[in-house]
Amino acid sequence: MIVEKSIFFYTSPVFVKLSDKEVKLRKGTIRLRDFQYELLKRFLERNSLDVILLNAPTGAGKTLSLLIPFLANVEDKWMYHGSVGIYPSRELARDQMISIFNLLIELGASPVDIRELYEDLKDLSGDELEIVNEYVRALEVELDDSGYIPVILLYVTSESLNRLRGVISRHKQNITSNKELLKYLRGKVAGKAFRIIFTVPEYPYLLATDVYQDFHRAGIWLYAVLKELGRFLKTVENNDEGSLRKWFRELEVNIDRKRLFEEYYTSREFTENLADIFLLFRAPVFFDEFHLYSGFSLASFISLLYIFMYEKGIGKIVISSATPVKTILVRGKETTKRNYKREKRKDFLELVRRLAERMGYIVREISSNTSSTPRKDFVQIRKKTLIRIIPVSLRGKYVTGAPAFGTLQRYVPEVLKETDWLDRYRRMGRSMILVDRVASVLEIKDTVEKLAGEKALPVCSVKVLFHGDKQQLKTSKIGIRETKLIVGNMAIAFGVDIKGMDLGVVVAKDHLSALQKIGRYGRGEGKDIAEIYLPVPFSKYREVEGLLKKIEGKEIPYNSTGNNKRSHNLDFVTLLKKLYPRGSPDVLVRQGVGVFKAIFPAWVYTLTNIIRERSEIREQLHTAKRVEDVKYIHYFVVLLEEIEKFFEIDKLERKLRKFMRNRVYLTPVGLYNLYSYRNIAGVPIKKYSRNKEILEEVLDLVTAGRNIPLIYMHGEFWVDESRKPYEYTMLWLGVDKADIEYIKSLLGKLDNKILTLRFLVEVFGGGVHLLQGRRKVCRITRLLDNMHLWNIPILLLYAGNSKKRRIIEYLSAIASMIPIYVLEYDNEQGELLGGIYLL
């Protein structure tokens, strides 16, 4: 038996306060929750610029916030043309589109056939309509007084645009690219209706900065802009009026119509064209599930937020999160003569607040008012939940702390077998098991299918490879909503709303991800009790055993509301903090690359707009004496100042300029990849299906390497079908002993530089191997046969001291880092030499 005797307790249901505000439509009325009404009040003040930090627990009704601009129109007058929901994953964006559609139907809206609405699309066949309806939905909302408001829901991601283009181009001959499709959607489809856009951050990010184009051309544009940034930073660094005026004059000349292309490889027409498409996103913005952004995407977030804040026509920006703080680690200023820098934990939202205030926004914080007992004017959002803490004795090497929680997911099959989970499942009819790794998802899926005797639906980043296209369709959120048995990881825990999922097993690596996953269960109203099994390592269990014994069999509040004090004075959220490791603060965003990613896109946006408004800006440049005199430049300097203050970096301009000059060595396509909102080290991985067809899926190389057995043949990665379909392993580079000194010296010379993978492979040479666990995949020089890998930007780190070694080991466990070790006998890992971070 690996499972020890469990302890159980209850968490109380959660109720959220309703407001007395009702918005009436002809066929339905919606009574807003307290925090939704607060939000509506802000939206009714059309002219004030607001950044709203919305903090509400999962299930409290944050989704409906996206309809607040619409409700403001209904309440007062037509003020907003739409709203834009930005989600951390495509799955969540799609799920939210379905939720909003259903909500509008509940409110009495009537779905409209796209063919009737748009002349161009009147000849769509049934199959084509089905595809279009997946991504574009049209409704008519009948108002209480008179008339209808047409509402269009648009799901904008690369996948949706590609499929929509495939259909619409058959009827509209001139739509040959996604750019033209977006222009069409903006002009024709969303033009007259209230539009609600569901998207991921990449789209507004690329469109606002003229980077939504061919990779090579985009890279060249970025290089030209980077060069201009270098010149500008040097001017700011000089800090004298003479240099500034000189730079103003040069910029004035550079943006001259005749010089523009020669200097920046772009034109005003091109810039105006993309700005026109960007209008699609020029509506109040809702960043949902902000707490799920991490690493370099957090840096890109600052730039995107800056862009939206600059577009003052947007007016309202809502950042919603289930957690009130986002902790990151900054280096801090030098504190002693020995240049010792003390690391500090800071709340990233502090930077958001300061920047917003400097840009003329009012920062407002709105939180939901919750209770753990039924009260007047409160509505239930979570059911009472039975929590079973399952202590698990881990076999083999004694591990504690965070690594023990990582190992724990491999014991879930035993937890399922040795507890009464199966009986509970038979009684309750549905269950969902949430873990972290893809390999665990697949292993547990096999186990539950054997135990329950029915098919389970795996939901993780790997879709096509294991199940083919049919499964991909099945994993659409409608499939998830209906499936009885689900095994998934964070891909499903990203805010996806599954009603009636009341039985689960949750394994998480820290308290925040545990909270996120637990939030998927027991949603909605009802007196029935949800049940969640929480396996924890026995070592951790022993630490909190006393506390757990005190609450055994009792009910504790879900979170501390201040209005429902019990004798034991402990709430479930606080208990999770004691039960799980503390989530590590983000360490990546403070790195040189992070700061660069926070600033550079804002600069690209600045220059894009200067080019677009060339005539006006040239006049300003001609007479300007200070940065404040030139539109766009003024606020960019504010961004620099705030980033300098927040990250406590001395002489930011100088450091950034040196970083760009001496540490970034990329091809145009490599620079485009570095610029991306998130890292995109995706490679196609292939496999033969049962019908001997080739299945292919683009996966993150590091994630695939950690979970799927890979082989490398003829320049392509394939799933090794001679092994189990999943593996708990990792990718690493092994250096032959003869080459150790050479590689060490290279790593020393290239430490902290950003290079392309192709360059690195060529200088490393044939003495370095790619390994997966203890199995050689190939010599790295063979990776040159795979073109997808050539332009992946990498950050090279040399494990020159113990601190660097710790960082590399840490990032190898949690991020896109491939460590470099000495290759010992029998393919074992020897000394750690360095690591490559795939950016």
Binding site: Y223, F261, E262, Y265, N662, Y665
Partner: protein, 313 residues
Amino acid sequence: MSSSPTISEETMYVKKLGVYYGITAYALYPSQSTLEDLHGLELQSYVSSLADWLAKGILSSQSLFKILTSAEPLLSPEIRSGTGLKGWMSSLPARILDDFMICRTRAYYTAHPELFKSRRIVDMEESEKRGEVFIRRYFIPKIRKLVDKAVEKNYKHEILKLEDCNKENKKYYLIYKGLEKEIACKPDMVAIISFYGKFLRTLVFEVAETDTHTVLRRKHVIPRILLYIIATYLHYGIPSVGFYISLSPKSSPPTIVFIPKGGKQQKGTTRIRKLIQILEDIRNLVLATDVPKPNRNPICSHCVYRPICKFAM
């Protein structure tokens, strides 16, 4: 008391020559003492001393270091990195640029290898061979030797990669907009160097017997060097500079370095507008069905297509 020569003593002097095809050319001269050593040497010794001087200069010269800092990526939306996966019939040798600069008809023949076969010219082949020998026997061993002594000599620049492109048959491919065939660039040598541990540069070497004065006057090699600079940059992502090394003892300067860099006169694409024009003409030659007339007095005596050329004189 006379001090022994140290690394701090400048071995190489730099003089700006001007802007050629949009990139800045600098002459690399040996110091007075080195010049005296080079004088009156027979060819083999000259070549060996030239390699020695050049290797030392690259690894230690302050003047060269200063001009290399200003090198930037040379970019054009029309020229992008190729794959080299299509096979030789789908690629054009970068030497077609030299051919084009000399004679349009010759470039046409080179653009259609499936139709026209070139003849062998022994002294041209031997001249090429001498370039290869210089790199393989003299230059690379000299650099390696200096790098091995780097610690004791306290050199600050370090070699990351040395590629003898002829020996390893290393090619860098480019795609030009509208040109179906990829352009295969094969310089004589490529070196990637970390200067003072601060910045990286790719040095691309082309070696020939023609003296540098003629190269600058006739400009027939410069577009190809420019193309090498672009090709290596798009391959490695590290800004490249081009070196032309003349093996002729009479050549003064012995070496020219081409540095793409900014400046008021060299903005954006204007820098390589002439190169783009040449590539455009080559694209038209690939598409053309008729053999074009030579555009000026060609040098037919050394033309590899002389036996088949109807315009040969």
